[in-house]
């Protein structure tokens, strides 16, 4: 009897699933963040200590503002804003967080990468690839998840999992090498992106309809920035309509110094 039931269940589930996927429709969002004007020159890190010899092997620069080719703004976060307690429908392909860990590596006395995206329930792995050099990783300003500060040694990565989403990217620090900084955004849905070296970002398979997105770059929301025909508010938030089956291409988004509070 039980077998028959479970068979029926299986039939039911498989026949209903595609229906569900068809019912909700999905669209994408993309764009390119471009620094408006002449970007300030990057400064190299001064007073490298301790581990002066090891850490000075590669030139370390202040990565607060990274403007790459074609003045693309890297390391900016674009993500779906949700009020506390609200959730969003997630595309079936993205329903489960990947079990592949997001890796934050301590490498060459800098965090690699500078900006990371982690989903709740997805492993977050902290590595130390600097042989013989001690690093700690300190995420103190988490709001909803417990903060932590752990020693990370070679060949023994520290793996964590987060349970709750955070409203903003949280800074990670190494207290031994005080110039090291990275940002980790923890969300309970896949609708987030980090701009690459050319400033490009893309978020796929967002449920169609009106949404609010946040454009965020250290230290806060990117304010007063023209995004398509709209403008971000002082919190870096902007309302955008995602059309089913289409990609909303915002094209080139000019980022002024003022938007970044420079």
């Amino acid at each position: 009897m039980r077998h028959v039931l479970s068979l029926w269940m299986a039939v039911l589930v498989t026949s209903v699933m595609p229906l569900c996927a068809g019912a909700a429709e999905w669209g994408s969002l993309k764009g390119q963040l471009v620094f408006d004007g002449t970007p300030p020159e990057s400064k190299s890190i001064q007073n490298i200590a301790p581990d002066t010899e090891f850490c000075s092997k590669n030139e370390l620069v202040d990565e607060t503002l990274v403007v790459g080719e074609e003045r693309g703004l890297a390391n900016a976060f674009v993500y779906l804003y949700l009020k506390k307690g609200k959730t969003v429908a997630v595309h079936p392909d993205l329903a489960e967080p990947s079990d592949k860990p997001v890796v934050l590596d301590n490498k060459g006395c800098r965090f690699h990468p500078r900006a990371l995206l982690v989903r709740t329930g997805q492993p977050f792995e902290i590595r130390n690839s600097d042989m013989g050099v001690g690093h700690n990783t300190n995420l103190q300003t988490l709001f909803s998840n417990p903060p932590f500060n752990q020693m990370v040694v070679n060949g023994k990565p520290e793996t964590r999992m987060f349970q709750k989403r955070e409203s903003f990217p949280a800074p990670a620090a190494c207290n031994i090498h005080t110039w090291m900084k990275a940002f980790v955004l923890i969300r309970d849905n896949p609708y987030m992106a980090v701009s690459d070296a050319r400033g490009n970002f893309e978020i796929k398979d967002i449920p169609a309809g009106p949404h609010e997105f946040i454009f965020w770059h250290d230290p806060a929301g990117m304010r007063g920035m023209a995004v398509g025909k709209k403008e971000t508010d002082r919190k870096g938030r902007v309302k955008l309509d995602i059309a089913a089956g289409k990609t909303l291409d915002l094209g080139e988004i000019k980022v002024s110094a003022s938007a970044l509070r420079l």
Binding site: G85, P146, F148, N149, M151, R160
Partner: protein, 455 residues
């Protein structure tokens, strides 16, 4: 670190102090205003909460927690009202000799009315008194991220914090110490709620302006007019719900503290009946870890004198340090733009806005103390702020010291892997406790030039 803004402002504050004194002398001493809780202006400014919300945040906190003279605990907090009444208000004793107003009698001069670590003597103390508002406590038996247990707070009150201005209150009757523990928790919970209210304000969206008939008013283009939504949980049930859900979340941290106590494995704990040779062998193993895998030397220095990495800050000082650095950056940006001249209308407006904002930041900076670096402990002094029992040192090594650069070497949460095994952590405990007694000729062995020989 030198902060030009702060130096100028410090001179200004002193001058202001004199003026206030002059005014007080001229006016005489009438009945003083009842003490009031102070808002966390650093948080308000850094989070860019519009100034219009300050009074409303203060009102909501007042409704949830009362005043320093009449504290009030919502049932959700589980706080004991009788204990709070005993600890709060002005100091006095009834005919039976029961003491009231304990916080103001024993704590307020350093920790301040609000528990923000900014009482009148705070500026002159090193380290600065603890700011309870973030609910982060350094010396506890629980995991780094966890709240302290009542027993942890009790222990700090009984022992004081050796090496700091915090004295022991072990001569007070037990009931008074318990009342103070409750009041410290109350101030922490209130502080956490204040942070949460900034999040609530952040999430508010503008609302439509309506006329007397409840119809939305529209501008010339026919778009509805929008206005600031006030923070007022009494008239907005969804705000009330959100505030209570934040309270519930933060109370979960306090209510589960007892489940997050670090309990060392029974079979790993070194016995009290060890032979001196066994203790020495364990300390020697700890020494190897200190200079090797555990990498304690990075901060505590190659001679364990606390002379390694000394340029970082603890959380409390870091917030103020970054605040002052940011002010420097903001003024620089404004000066540069004024110098550039030739601004278009939008840029001109932005400049005006930024100047107003800078003025707000500078007003707050005037109230700050100079941030101090977190200096790693000199382990040769034999002074242990969090207690000198072996278990105290074990807890420090296992989970680090919350709010400071000191990282943990044990698992950060149950089930996680740590860097060191418990046996290794006990070796480190033995080594750390042996350091003050190490013969003076030995420390030289550990200088970086011959560190290889030591290992």
């Amino acid at each position: 670190m030198n902060y030009p803004t702060l130096n100028k402002l410090e001179a200004f504050t002193k001058l202001q102090g004199l003026c206030v004194l002059a005014v007080v002398l001229a006016a005489g001493c009438d009945t003083a205003e009842p003490p009031a809780f102070r808002l966390n202006m650093v948080e308000a400014v850094v989070r860019e909460t519009p100034p219009e919300y300050s009074q409303e945040i203060s009102d909501v906190l007042g409704a949830m927690f009362g005043t320093p003279d009449q504290p009030y605990a919502l049932a959700e907090t589980g706080l004991d009202q009788a204990k709070l009444d005993m600890a709060a208000g002005p100091a006095w004793s009834d005919k039976k000799g029961t003491n009231f107003g304990l916080y103001r009698k024993h704590c307020v001069h350093c920790h301040g009315v609000t528990g923000d670590g900014r009482g009148p003597t705070a500026r002159f103390l090193n380290p600065y008194p603890r700011d309870y508002r973030p609910a982060v406590y350094k010396f506890k038996s629980t995991l780094n991220a966890a709240r302290p247990t009542d027993a942890d707070l009790h222990r700090v009150l009984m022992n004081g914090v050796p090496g700091t201005a915090m004295p022991s209150f072990s001569l007070l009757p037990g009931s008074e110490v318990e009342a103070l523990v409750e009041y410290v928790k109350y101030l922490s919970i209130r502080g956490q709620m204040e942070s949460a209210l900034h999040m609530v304000v952040y999430e508010l969206e503008e609302e439509e302006v309506v006329d007397e008939n409840g119809e939305p008013r529209r501008d010339e283009a026919g778009e509805p007019l929008l206005q600031r939504t006030p923070l007022n949980p009494a008239t907005y049930p969804e705000q009330r719900e959100e505030i209570l859900s934040y309270l519930e979340e933060l109370m979960e941290g306090w209510n589960t503290a007892n489940e997050q106590i670090i309990v060392p494995a029974e079979d790993q704990i070194p016995g009290d009946d060890r032979l001196p040779e066994e203790v020495l062998a364990s300390a020697e193993a700890g020494r190897k870890l200190f200079y090797g895998k555990a990498d304690c030397k990075k901060c505590h220095g190659p001679t364990a004198l606390g002379d390694g990495q000394q340029t970082d800050y603890d959380n409390w000082n870091k917030v103020h340090h970054e605040f002052l650095v940011e002010i420097g950056r903001k003024s620089e940006s404004i000066v540069k733009r004024v110098g550039d001249g030739e601004l278009d209308k939008a840029a001109e407006q932005q400049l005006i806005n930024d100047r107003v904002e800078l003025a707000r930041w500078q007003g707050v900076a005037a109230t700050l103390y100079k941030p101090r670096n977190a200096i790693p402990r000199n382990l040769r002094q034999g002074i242990y702020r969090g207690g000198r029992r072996r278990i105290d040192i074990f807890h420090r090594v296992f989970t680090g010291i919350a709010g400071t650069p000191m990282p943990g070497s044990g698992p950060a949460s149950p089930g996680a892997k740590g860097t060191l095994t418990e046996a290794q952590m006990w070796n480190l405990v033995d080594y750390v406790l042996s350091l003050p007694y190490e013969p003076p000729s030995q420390p030289l062995k550990a200088l970086p030039v011959n560190v290889d020989e030591v290992l």
